[in-house]
């Protein structure tokens, strides 16, 4: 398991090999089998999860029905609520949909790590800026779009989702029932066929 952390740390060339080694040893790495519930609605959440390998799904339960709000995969961070700076009661769930290896972080660990390795704060800032850019883009693409437009956006921007995540969870993410998703997929496939023959 330490190998995957060392490989990840090798991305950061601004750190000396010694710093990378020491940071790798200090990071809290968690190995979670598929199905692990990291946080439930109502629990106090103070941790965030940076995915090294695997997939974490975030969902809410609305009127007894799961509403998927995001999938976090390699190099993405799953956070439940406003957790980093102030621990709060979680209003959603984070569940591992594959065997997952992640780095677990919280405000206290972060503080002591930044004090010991100041360059780490710089690295974190840059990673968060990228994350913010991507999150903004996801929101921008989803905000006023129909389920079909959302489906096409996902095919274009996150094709790996379709290989790794069950259909009904994708349906929930784009805001429709699994049956409607099946019908929609068929409609889109037919359209493509027609377009090819024209």
């Amino acid at each position: 398991m330490i190998e995957i952390v060392t490989q990840f740390m090798d991305n950061f060339k601004m750190l000396t090999p010694d710093e990378r080694q020491r940071i790798a040893e200090k990071l809290k790495v968690k190995q979670c089998p598929k199905g692990t519930v990291l946080i439930k609605e109502g629990q106090i959440s103070k941790d965030c999860y940076f995915v090294l390998k695997g997939c974490i799904r975030q969902f809410y339960i609305v009127d007894g029905v799961e509403r998927t709000t995001d999938f976090f995969m390699e190099m993405e961070t799953a956070i439940s609520g406003n957790t980093i700076s102030n621990p709060s009661v979680s209003i959603n769930y984070l569940v591992c949909e594959e065997d997952t290896v992640c780095i677990v972080g919280n405000a206290a660990d972060e503080k002591s790590m930044f004090a010991e390795f100041p360059k780490l704060e710089s690295i974190t800032r840059e990673m968060m800026e990228n994350d913010l850019g991507q999150t903004q883009q996801k929101l921008a693409k989803f905000i006023l779009s129909s389920p079909e437009e959302r489906y096409i956006t996902l095919i274009e921007t996150r094709p790996e989702l379709f290989q790794r995540v069950p259909q009904h969870q994708i349906a929930s993410y784009i805001g429709i029932s699994p049956e409607s998703l099946s019908r929609m997929r068929k409609r889109i496939a037919d359209k493509r066929k027609t377009a090819m023959h024209e």
Binding site: S85, E121, R125, M128, G133, T135, Q136, A140
Partner: protein
């Protein structure tokens, strides 16, 4: 509120009170390039390289893009003491416009200068990280609400969390920000008003 010094003092007060910056660090902020934009000014366009970091001292800025069908889609609003965080990593592919909805004072510092500042003043970089973190959480929170809350609840939530926006921004832009058609927002507002009666 007319001189550059007045605007700077607003900025400095904010950073002193919220982040406890030292005098030395504050002096660095004095070099900030503060722009004075009129209502309606568009200071960043689609396709234009993002090579500045923007921070609103006063005013209201709308971030939007034009989709494939020519539709104007509001992504965010930024008001007093909010950093406008745009993705600078992808060169030449900035899809967003930034438009002033009011007369606004905005710092527009070159990314290069900002990075230089970070290198010399770790505390300033730390503040930048904290602000980015807050923006990231807020954006994720909006995405979650969009996908998990009913339209009416999203509107009520906005009334709670950013009531000032409803005074400062046209209705149709609020609708777009909430992921609603303008007609749907009108219906929701009407329904809520009748309930109160």
């Amino acid at each position: 509120m007319n001189s550059k010094a007045d605007r700077l003092s607003l900025l400095i007060n904010f950073f002193q009170q919220n982040f406890g910056l030292s005098t030395n660090e504050i002096e660095q902020l004095l070099d900030a390039d503060i722009k004075d934009f009129k209502k309606g000014a568009i200071f960043l366009k689609e396709g234009q390289k993002v090579d500045k970091c923007f921070f609103v001292i006063k005013g209201c800025v709308r971030q939007y893009y034009i989709d494939e069908n020519g539709k104007d889609i509001t992504v965010d609003f930024y008001t007093e003491f909010q950093a406008i965080s745009l993705d600078q990593s992808k060169v030449g592919s900035n899809p967003y416009y930034l438009e002033c909805l009011e007369d606004s004072f905005i710092t527009a510092d070159d990314t290069e200068r900002t990075n230089d500042l970070y290198a010399h003043f770790p505390q300033i970089e730390s503040i930048s990280r904290q602000i980015t973190e807050q923006n990231l959480l807020a954006t994720q929170d909006r995405m979650n609400k969009l996908l998990s809350m009913k339209p009416e609840d999203r509107y009520l939530d906005l009334l709670q969390t950013r009531p000032d926006l409803l005074q400062r921004v046209p209705q149709h832009q609020i609708a777009s920000y909430l992921g609603l058609q303008p007609e749907s927002l009108s219906r929701i507002r009407k329904r809520l008003a009748e309930k109160r009666k």
